[in-house]
Amino acid sequence: MKSIGLRALHSLLLLVGASVLSILLVRLAPGDYFESMRINPQISNRTIAALRSQYGLDKPLPVLYWHWAQSALKGEGGFSFAYNSAAGPILWPRAQNTLLLAGCATLLAWMIALPAGVLAAARRGSWADLLASGTIALLLAIPELVLGLVLLLFAVHTGFPAGGMISAARAEAGFWDKSRDVIRHLFMPAVCLAAGLLPLLLSHVRAAMEEALRSPFILAARGFGISFRRVLLRHALPAALNPIISLFGLSVGLLMSSSLLVEAIFGWPGLGKLMLQAIADRDLFLVIDSTMLGTGFLIAGNFVADILLYLCDPRIRAD
């Protein structure tokens, strides 16, 4: 119980640290949101200066941070310059969509990586192993942006919807109809996102399994004549779980940052494109909010991983 309290405190410190660092970094990079307006000859310097002071960008950093912190405590998360509105209402509906997409993609990636990794490790040098190596290399060599475009083209030729979350003309359909529509739209971006995550998961699962299969007790178990299948699933897999669980925590933490580009390509109405634009526009508070969301995912992922580790590994429990 005490350790949970301590953990919460650490997480809080982490959140504060991340917010301070991110506001520092954003202000360190040259340019700000309103200054970029100067590319528009129709807007006068006077207007730009007035806007900057209205939104507090001419104030020192601690004051800006204080404004944000106050507003964050109210759940608004500061102010988006681009949308001229509180950041909270812009973020929440999109965060749900991102969770849906990223959640499905992570699930998909794990569903492929776990059996494939175990298989590849069990049969070293076999076609399954070579196929895994080839897939990893191919997925790593093609940048996510390009892979997304290829999948988009593929989608068009196979009759899948080319991006978006719902069909344009379908507004007043029933719940089931709507859900089916969303799932059809979800498929391609989820595949793309899973493809980005797959090399990481697959190679670590395979490595962990190989490691476990080499341990003396596995060799001993084989020596006792226990079937290979049983050894693999009953003895080796549990032994390999530790790094795999760490990886699971990490993959939850990566959810948001990895969906950034994929969402932009497929027009998925999540946080991705919003954030990409906010980063390029220097939409200060939106960037900090997205960092906070990312940090939140990380904390959650690591928390889940630690609990799982605690449950699975008696040695850690004894500590």
Binding site: E35, P41, Q42, P89
Partner: protein, 596 residues
């Protein structure tokens, strides 16, 4: 099936009158043919369309607000333009001003007083009647210093805000501190706001944050052809037909024809192309030349048509840093400015750049090579006397030799004092065409022995360097485009203008030719006669061409496409390129809304 562009019929003559009593005499109630409860319709020409149908289009970014006072980005402004109307409107196709909510207007002889007569019997999209009070309220809001409406600056003429006065329920008088050329163009895109919905917010001081994207559809109303039906964050904005719209076609059908417009938001340019090709959307607007080429291949087999509306008003230029830098800071840039400040040097660079290759490689042939900031897309102000640029390395070398430059044995260029000529060009890393232009220029300048280093930067950093820190040697810049009138170039061409990007800080008085440009630009602004203004602006273009303060490169074509279902489609080079006549667009062979 071309149809006569735009609204050829112009209602109400433009009167020139000396004083008010006379004005009142020329606009009696007898002017109106309609009965008192039928609105004062504007009749338009063009193909008569069919009522109904849903138009689906994609936007590359998301609209950020529905508030016309503060909207800056293109997508928001395009969406707002569908829902709002202005008093006098610039026809995006003819580029001339024409009556809108103001049925007619009169200008006093000194050019300082504009009397506008409003249409009677009009209603906002929520059914509330419209009158002069709404106009007065609108201008009060636009001019309010607390709101910082970007368009406020236009409404300040001769240093003083335009004053607005209601003469009666349907007549409004505008007073200008100075005569202003083409002042009727100022009224364009000033969206007339519903006083009944916004006055409370105005009194609270919250008008600036009103009408965000989450506004309830019954809380927003305008006089445009469409009204808000639904906003789904990050996905789409659905607009529906405004039943109270005030235009009708030759057969007395009230516009608009379309039942709904669905704007899908945040679609990348590649996805947009793919979706249009697959028939998911009806219109693509301002697409890149390569995507245009993809869509344009084997025409005839496809169910859509592609349109090249010709060069737009946007232009790209190579700017040298001519700012007077703080003494002692950035000494290496100050050294190089000695070259940049020589007209012969800049002319040599201009002669060496192969604009034809830029047009061919970066724009797939769909752009216009420039020497001045006016492309032929600007119908009223383009000067055909300015020649098309031709590459000539010999001429460039001659210019440099005459200016005292010389070449060393390995072919590299040296200045008078024997220093090697080498400079860097910054460009926006995210715009493929800018990267391509920079790479082509770099290779071109090798031919006269100049080594160029390219510095790709993200947009915000680049703007910061050009407009704020002045730490750069040369940069490729594209400014946002505005109206076709020379007045919209004031801030760029005037030596003290806010967008005079290449020389924002100056310690001395400008060069003689720049002073002449200043004088001409100031003079044309207060000249009413169009032909005299044209002469003045032609002279400005001549001066720019002769001295090349910056190296103008190209104006890209405005490229668009529409499904064969869409009738009356006519892309223009002014914003909003494909939707300026949305009230006349229609869907063929569809009587009702049917999901595709």
């Amino acid at each position: 099936m071309r149809w006569e562009p735009g609204l050829a019929v112009c209602f109400g003559a433009i009167f020139f009158a000396g004083d008010l009593p006379c004005l009142k005499a020329v606009c009696p109630g007898s002017h109106q043919s309609s009965t008192s409860d039928e609105p004062d319709y504007l009749e338009v020409t063009g193909q008569t369309g069919e009522r109904g149908g849903t138009l689906i289009l994609s936007e590359r970014s998301e609209a950020k607000t529905f508030n016309p006072l503060i909207a800056i980005d293109g997508t928001s402004r395009e969406t707002i333009a569908l829902m709002m109307a202005d008093l006098i409107h610039i026809n995006r196709y003819t580029q001339q001003s024409e009556p809108a909510l103001a049925k007619s207007w009169a200008i006093s002889q000194d050019g300082r007083r504009y009397t506008l007569h409003l249409r009677r019997g009009l209603r906002f999209s929520d059914g509330h009647p419209f009158d002069a009070d709404d106009v007065v309220f609108t201008f009060r809001a636009y001019l309010d210093q607390r709101i910082h409406a970007p368009q406020r600056d236009f409404l300040i003429v001769g240093g003083r805000p335009i004053s607005v006065q209601k003469l009666d329920a349907y007549t409004v008088l505008f007073n200008l501190a100075e005569p202003y050329a083409a002042a009727e163009r100022l009224f364009d895109s000033i969206a007339i706001l519903p006083r009944h919905l916004l006055e409370a917010a105005y009194e609270d001081g919250t008008l600036g944050s009103a009408w965000g994207l989450n506004v309830a559809p019954d809380q927003i109303a305008g006089l445009g052809p469409f009204r808000l039906k639904q906003y789904v964050p990050g996905q789409k904005i659905v607009l529906e037909r405004n039943p109270f719209f005030w235009k009708r076609d030759g057969k007395r059908n009230v516009l608009p024809y379309l039942h709904e417009i669905v704007c899908l938001s945040d679609i990348s340019s590649e996805a947009e192309t793919i979706r249009f090709e697959a028939g998911e959307t009806d219109i693509v607007s301002r697409i890149g030349a390569e995507n245009f080429a993809i869509l344009n291949k084997d025409e005839g087999r496809r169910r859509f048509r592609m349109y090249d509306a010709g060069p737009g008003l946007e232009y790209t230029f190579l700017a040298f840093n001519l700012n007077d830098l703080v003494q002692g800071r950035e000494p290496s840039i100050t050294e190089k400015q000695k070259w940049f400040r020589q007209t012969a040097f800049r002319q040599a660079i201009s002669n060496t750049i192969d604009r034809g290759a830029i047009v061919r490689l970066a724009y797939a042939g769909r752009a216009y090579p420039l020497l001045v900031p006016v492309s032929p897309g600007n119908r009223l102000w383009f000067d055909p006397a300015i020649p098309r640029p031709l590459r000539s390395v010999e001429r460039a070398k001659r210019l440099l030799r005459e200016a005292g430059f010389s070449w060393s044995a390995d072919g590299s260029l040296n200045d008078v004092r024997g220093r090697r000529v080498e400079f860097s060009i910054m460009h926006n890393a995210r715009r493929a065409q800018h990267v391509q232009m920079a790479t082509i220029i770099q290779q071109d300048l090798k031919d006269i022995g100049i080594k160029v280093n390219l510095i790709p930067l993200d947009f915000a950093t680049l703007v910061d360097r050009v407009f704020n820190s002045f730490v750069y040697e040369a940069a490729i810049v594209t400014l946002a485009d505005g109206d076709s009138d020379p007045n919209s170039q004031m801030s760029i061409l005037l030596s003290h203008g806010a967008a005079h990007a290449w020389k924002l800080r100056s310690n001395s008085s400008p060069d003689e030719w720049q002073q002449e440009i200043d004088r001409l630009m100031e003079a044309q602004m207060t000249t009413i006669d169009h032909s005299i203004r044209k002469q003045m602006f032609d002279r400005v273009q001549q001066l720019v061409w002769q001295h090349e303060p910056v190296i103008f490169l190209v104006s890209p074509d405005i490229l668009a496409g529409a499904s064969d279902r869409v009738g009356n489609f006519q892309p223009a080079v002014l914003s909003s390129y494909t939707l300026w006549n949305a009230d006349q667009l229609f869907i063929r062979g569809e009587q009702s809304v049917a999901p595709r």
